[in-house]
């Protein structure tokens, strides 16, 4: 049997990180850092003076504050909506809980630019900040809902019962016990929301809210000067690093995995009592804002206009292309995210691992156009045969969406107790078999969810797809852009509807995976059962 090493004081025992995984994770980090290398080249090409000029502009400080305000407000709203809806659907006797679970995930299928366009026509008088917060919150709260709902399902509700039995009221028990149980999940989801908001262009452009991305775009658009855009991009990277570090702090210590003996008690739903009706209304209100209004807008445009004679072949080709490049993006991103997420969960004490994990997040707040231009710059010079071919587009999706998968892998590996792996090893399993037979099966649902998130995001992606797609190949998003850019909303509507319906498939899979977990019980428990049983059957 292999000897184990103990690292870093209180850290849990674990075998040395396999070199192959470290190498793969390093590769993933290097890929994620590509845009930043490009930004340095561009930012510094006219000397450090220009950099300082841009940084010290009064407007840059205002931009920073405005972007943070927008990100903070949307994250706060998403935390309230995500945690609130997750609690209502998982822990209470809300009528129609399963349906609400699925509905709460579906807004991920609505691109922020589609929702913004509909909302700006529907409520043009809304101030730009309010409009941007409304739409971005409606589109991105599922990033909080999903991990929190999963965590609530897994967490033992009996601790909450204990708190109640010790005299806590329902609110107090919720605050003291339940919120703590979902802290990690909510933090990870909130981080994704924050970074997504910083990177989003569609919503801030349509609502005309001056955030980093809008000014970066304006810099390309009006003056064709890439240096200020690059400097602002680098500031955005610094901001991202600061935010990720802050989020890591909130993770704190403590084992998120269930390892206690005994069956997890089937949670007795908390009765809502008089709160039933307000709770239903709240859930319905969120659904109307995030799904109802965009759907009504699309139907209105579908029904209107003479240009709606849609070429079904073109639509079908766009669906096929969107599906293929997005799924390819999901698979490749997952392959690179697996080693990073696994190391981050199991070896987070090591500085190199922490660096790798943060590196994969560093560029996540960059607008798509910046990532696209960085791959244009590098691709045309160093990978000419792949330039404007499918692999380069897939690479763009990897760079853009790696953290979505890394976060999911890390969370799901962390939730399966390392003790189960120790048991397997102590019974003579070599590390590779432990990985294959214990770690991966335990983490599989979370890992698959990460891949689905990437597929969803890639389907909706526009700026990088426009610049990097193979010539003559269109996705639903690029077709949609073609028509909206020309003001042909009726012609655009079938593509918008097609995109939302197609993206609803991975969204439904994500939502559907939650009720399935209920039957299978907590993954950690089931996995443990699998190990013990295998061991029991072994001679």
């Amino acid at each position: 049997m292999r000897s184990r090493q103990r690292r870093g004081g209180g850290e849990r025992a674990s075998p040395t990180a396999p070199t192959a995984w470290l190498a793969l994770a390093t590769l993933a980090a290097a890929v994620a850092l590509l845009p930043i290398a490009y930004l340095f080249v561009r930012a510094l090409e006219r000397g450090p003076g220009v950099v300082l000029d841009v940084v010290w502009r009064e407007r840059t400080v205002a931009l920073l504050l405005r972007s943070l305000a927008l990100g903070g407000a949307v994250t706060a709203v998403c935390l309230v909506l995500g945690i609130g809806l997750a609690y209502l659907t998982i822990r209470t006797d809300l009528p129609g809980r399963r349906a609400w679970t699925v509905i709460a995930v579906l807004p991920l299928a609505v691109p922020s630019y589609v929702a913004s366009y509909v909302w700006v026509s529907f409520a043009p008088g809304l101030p730009s900040f309010a409009g941007a917060v409304l739409v971005l919150s409606a589109c991105s709260y599922p990033y909080v809902f999903l991990p929190v709902a999963a965590a609530l399902r897994r967490a033992d509700s009996s601790t909450q019962d204990v708190a109640r039995s010790l005299g806590d009221g329902p609110w107090r028990a919720f605050a003291r016990v339940t919120l703590r149980q979902v802290r990690h999940a909510a933090g990870a989801g909130g981080l994704l929301v924050m970074l997504y908001v910083l990177s989003d262009f569609g919503a801030v452009a349509i609502w005309r809210f001056d955030a980093f991305t809008r000014v970066i775009h304006a810099s390309y658009r009006s003056s064709f000067d890439r240096t200020p855009a690059a400097v602002l991009g680098l500031l955005l990277v610094l901001l991202t690093i600061a935010i990720t570090l802050a989020e890591t702090r909130t993770r704190g210590r403590g084992e998120p995995a269930r390892v206690g003996s005994g069956a997890a008690a089937p949670a007795a739903p908390v009765p809502l009592g008089a709160w039933r009706v307000p709770a239903c209304l709240a859930a319905a209100g969120v659904a109307v804002v995030s799904l109802g209004v965009p759907a009504a807008g699309l139907l209105y445009w579908l029904a209107r206009g003479s240009s709606a004679g849609t070429d079904v072949d073109v639509l079908a080709a766009a669906v096929a292309t969107t599906l293929s490049v997005a799924v390819a993006g999901g698979i490749v991103t997952l392959a690179l995210a697996l080693p990073v997420g696994w190391l981050a969960a199991r070896h987070h004490g090591r500085a190199a691992v922490r660096f790798i994990e943060h590196a994969t997040y560093a560029g996540h707040a960059l607008p798509g156009v910046v990532v696209a231009l960085s791959l244009v710059f590098l691709g045309v010079r160093y990978a000419q045969p792949l330039y404007q071919r499918t692999p380069m587009l897939v690479l763009a999706y990897v760079v853009l969406f790696l953290p979505l998968a890394v976060g999911a892998v890390r969370a799901s590996v962390a939730q399966s107790s390392v003790r189960l792996e120790e048991v397997a090893r102590s019974l003579g399993r070599p590390p590779r078999r432990v990985m294959r037979e214990v770690t991966l099966p335990l983490a599989a649902p979370g890992v698959a969810a990460g891949a689905l998130l990437v597929v969803l995001a890639a389907m909706k992606e526009l700026p990088a797809t426009l610049l990097l797609h193979p010539t003559g190949m269109d996705t639903l998003a690029t077709r949609l852009w073609t028509f909206t850019d020309a003001g042909a909303h009726a012609a655009a509507a079938p593509y918008a509807a097609g995109l939302v319906l197609l993206a609803a498939v991975p969204a439904l899979l994500l939502g559907g995976a939650l009720p399935a977990a209920r039957g299978a019980r907590a993954p950690a428990r089931a996995g443990r059962a699998a190990v013990t049983e295998q061991e029991a059957m072994a001679p």
């Binding site: 407007r59 043009p124 005309r208 001056d210 304006a218 390309y220 658009r221 009006s222 003056s223 064709f224 890439r226 209107r304 206009g305 003479s306 240009s307 080709a317 096929a320 292309t321 599906l323 293929s324 490049v325 799924v327 999901g330 698979i331 156009v369 231009l373 244009v376 710059f377 045309v380 330039y387 071919r389 499918t390 991966l440 099966p441 599989a444 649902p445 698959a448 426009l466 610049l467 193979p470 010539t471 003559g472 190949m473 073609t482 850019d485 020309a486 003001g487 042909a488 909303h489 009726a490 012609a491 299978a520 019980r521 089931a526 996995g527 059962a529 699998a530 013990t532 049983e533 295998q534």
Partner: protein, 363 residues
């Protein structure tokens, strides 16, 4: 219990593996289909071409929308006799992409929505001079001094107005500063054509007066929108009384939803008013293009009567050569629209405009 958990876990893993395998296969198949259909983007049919012996198709980066110029570029492919591949995106993003690609670019021709992007590429040395005889039909005001780009069509800045709110539209941009229009004027402050209007204002009246105009304009609480399309929507729905747009957006909207569905009307300001500026779309050949001959032939095609008639009829723009008139639209003759000259490709002038807008707080 443990048995069940074990079995269900196994099953879940198997299902996951099967899904992944199926997805992977689908990707391979679909990608193969996708790459098979790529290549000739301008038209469904590839013209019997001599492209093969010249190495690669004529690649056009088009900042002009596919719904506007797609059919024209299909005609171009046929006329030039070389396979054409078109990549569509916004002009500014394509300009940034071309600047990043530098000499390595596969693009041969840049077809831009506005002159600013062409000016930027010319300044960066990415465009090559066009032969004089190819562009001689175009007035000097509508091409680069060194012929590195040439306008292919023109559009006028106009006022779109809501007849329910405005009975007689104003005859000067100065009227927009009056209290009667407070909060009722819609515009697109980040749009290149609005920037061109401000540049015209500066040239016409000097920087001091232009700045004062902008300050008073901003103080009159105009409604800002992200695009000309949204500005016209605002006027059409009555949210705004007057909108600053390019003339052809109105014609596009009429073509899209029908004349009876559009309540907004167009008003041309008199020649000499900076609000009556003429903007252009244009094209330039990329320096070092392996298809330079075909690219120049493409420019000749775009300046020929067939393409010019297309612009006049299908996109409701002004032809850039004389002798071509629209058969479909009610357009004021170009000569009556503009009363002064603006060097549309000059970036140093654009930079001053942007600084001024930033100072006034219009962004």
């Amino acid at each position: 219990m443990t048995m069940n958990a074990h079995v269900s876990r196994r099953r879940a893993t198997a299902r996951l593996a099967a899904t992944a395998a199926a997805a992977g296969t689908a990707v391979l198949v679909l990608t193969a289909c996708g790459s098979g259909s790529s290549g000739s983007a301008a038209g469904s049919s590839t013209a019997g071409s001599s492209a093969a012996d010249q190495g690669g198709p004529l690649t056009i980066y088009s900042g002009r929308n596919e719904t506007l110029v797609g059919p024209l570029l299909a005609d171009l492919e046929e006329s030039v006799g070389t396979e054409v591949a078109v990549r569509y995106a916004s002009s500014s993003e394509l300009a940034a992409q071309l600047l990043e690609e530098g000499e390595q670019t596969e693009a041969d021709l840049f077809f831009s929505q506005d002159a600013g992007a062409l000016g930027a590429l010319a300044e960066a040395g990415l465009l090559t001079g066009l032969p004089e005889d190819a562009v001689s039909t175009v007035a000097a005001a509508y091409r680069d001094a060194d012929n590195r780009w040439v306008a292919t069509s023109a559009r006028a800045r106009v006022l779109a107005y809501d007849p329910d709110q405005v009975s007689t539209p104003p005859d000067s941009v100065d009227a927009l500063l009056e209290p009667a229009y407070a909060g009722k004027v819609a515009y697109a402050p980040t749009n290149a054509s609005f920037h061109a209007f401000v540049t015209a204002l500066r040239i016409d009246r000097g920087d001091e007066a232009a700045k004062t105009w902008l300050e008073r304009f901003a103080a009159n609480r105009p409604q800002a929108y992200e695009s000309n399309v949204l500005v016209l929507d605002a006027v059409d729905s009555g949210r705004a009384a007057i909108g600053l747009i390019n003339h052809y957006y109105w014609h596009q909207k009429v073509a899209e939803v029908g004349a009876d569905q559009v309540s907004a009307r167009l008003h041309y300001l008199p020649a000499g008013d900076p609000g009556a500026l003429v903007n252009v779309a244009g094209a330039g050949v990329i320096a070092g293009s392996e298809q330079e001959q075909a690219a120049v032939a493409a420019v000749r095609f775009l300046l020929g009567t067939r393409a010019q008639q297309y612009f006049a009829d299908e996109t409701a723009e002004y032809p850039i050569i004389s002798g071509v008139r629209t058969t479909k639209h009610d357009l004021q003759p170009l000569e009556q629209v503009q009363g002064f000259e603006v060097d549309l490709g000059r970036l140093d002038s654009l930079d001053k405009t942007l600084v001024m807008l930033d100072e006034v707080g219009i962004t």
